[in-house]
Symmetry: C2
Subunit: 213 residues, 2 copies
DNA sequence: TTATAATCGATAATTTTATATCGATAATAA
DNA sequence: TTATTATCGATATAAAATTATCGATTATAA
């Protein structure tokens, strides 16, 4: 059966990429097997949690040796559907949008950004890191015609809801949102937010406690 | 008593910035009071959860009307220690580092990046978004002399552990790490990771389920 | 070959986080 | 003034996530 259809705990899904990072390094180092204990020690989590997380992807380990590295990478990759890359558009090619375009690694994470959109005429027509920048006006049409499922939203907060709405009405299935705003989308549209302020909040709060306490 | 010393659930801390974003918008719209119900509706969470989150910061609401917007912003800001901005260094001024420098909003989140570090001689000496870029060699010395507590790490994975080590030995207290690697730091150093792959994993997994199921 | 030790994976217990219930309070309208 | 209603906040319950326990399994060494 297809394990990727199982509903896993969100915390588990968020840890899976960590395992992949480590496993890929091990593969480069020609390590064939790795135990949950070893993974846990490096990632500073409990071994039992690692076993639980991994078992969700359907992998089966061997007592005394652990898991086959390559098989484990494949199992997690399959679970996250990172073996089937989805074509995506990025909307807003400012500093952040460029940084995302510059990071070539997303193809390993199932994401293939094939075009960027912006209103800035200086950018339209240019290629940034090999990706062509198109006028924002053409976004709706191209989402429909090319059946694009994922939109990466890196525009200023003031414009993001409007662009979000137009993507939704064009049939987008998932939005990876970097603008610091609580976007309103219909239930059937998947919305995943990257709000750096959230991560920073944890850091500053811990630091304040440390410095005061 | 100082509420910011209380240990709050991490999920709560991660939601606090969302409240701030919304509240600041309300303030601009001259809204004086807001209820947990209203906040919850906009952010798509349960009202009771909002009340619990907010109460952790020490705020007290008024039955029938809710919370005073301005007071609430102050309460959360204080709790996260975002009223006292910490000076920070950023290490690695590639596409991502530049994007972070370009985002002026971090000052509102308690973070003031006052210098960047890189090995690229073309960048050293230049100013990027008003922040001077210095040679990586001078990092340790400056952390010590300026008593910098926070380092933002935006270098490639291959170099991040080494730089991390040197920051730790120079006395850094907290590291905001953007390189996709599990950094090893002593227990007393606060490590907060931003791994975009984690967020992307949640999105791709949900999308795969949606498209298949 | 047999004993030993490391690890897996199923089940159970614990902890953390989220949600529900309900009396108390204060604004609004009758 | 009094009734009504929305909301708060304390306490209790439920759900989710993590951690512990333990028998089964298999490589390694005696």
């Amino acid at each position: 059966m297809d394990k990727s259809l199982i509903s896993a705990p969100i915390p588990t899904i968020r840890r899976l990429p960590k395992y992949i990072h480590m496993l890929k390094r091990l593969k480069i180092e020609n390590v064939l097997y790795v135990s949950a204990t070893t993974i846990a020690h490096e990632l500073k989590i409990e071994p039992i949690l690692v076993r639980k997380d991994l078992s969700i992807t359907g992998i089966i380990g061997k007592p005394k040796v652990g898991f086959e590295v390559e098989e484990l990478i494949a199992s997690i990759t399959q679970f996250l559907n990172w073996n089937n890359t989805e074509d995506a558009f990025i909307i807003g090619v400012g500093a952040l949008g460029e940084a995302i375009l510059g990071y070539s690694g997303f193809k390993d994470y199932g994401l293939n950004i094939i075009a960027g959109f912006d209103i800035d005429k200086k950018k339209i027509g240019k290629k940034i890191f090999g990706v062509e920048i198109l006028p924002l006006d053409s976004l709706e049409d191209l989402i429909k015609r090319m059946h694009i499922n994922i939109g990466v939203l890196t525009v200023p907060a003031s414009e993001s809801q409007e662009i979000c709405d137009s993507m939704v009405s064009s049939g987008i299935k998932a939005i990876w949102n970097f603008s610091p705003i609580a976007l309103q989308v219909p239930d059937e549209v998947i919305l995943e937010n990257v709000h750096l302020s959230q991560s920073l909040a944890v850091l500053t709060h811990k630091l304040a406690k440390k410095l005061k306490g």
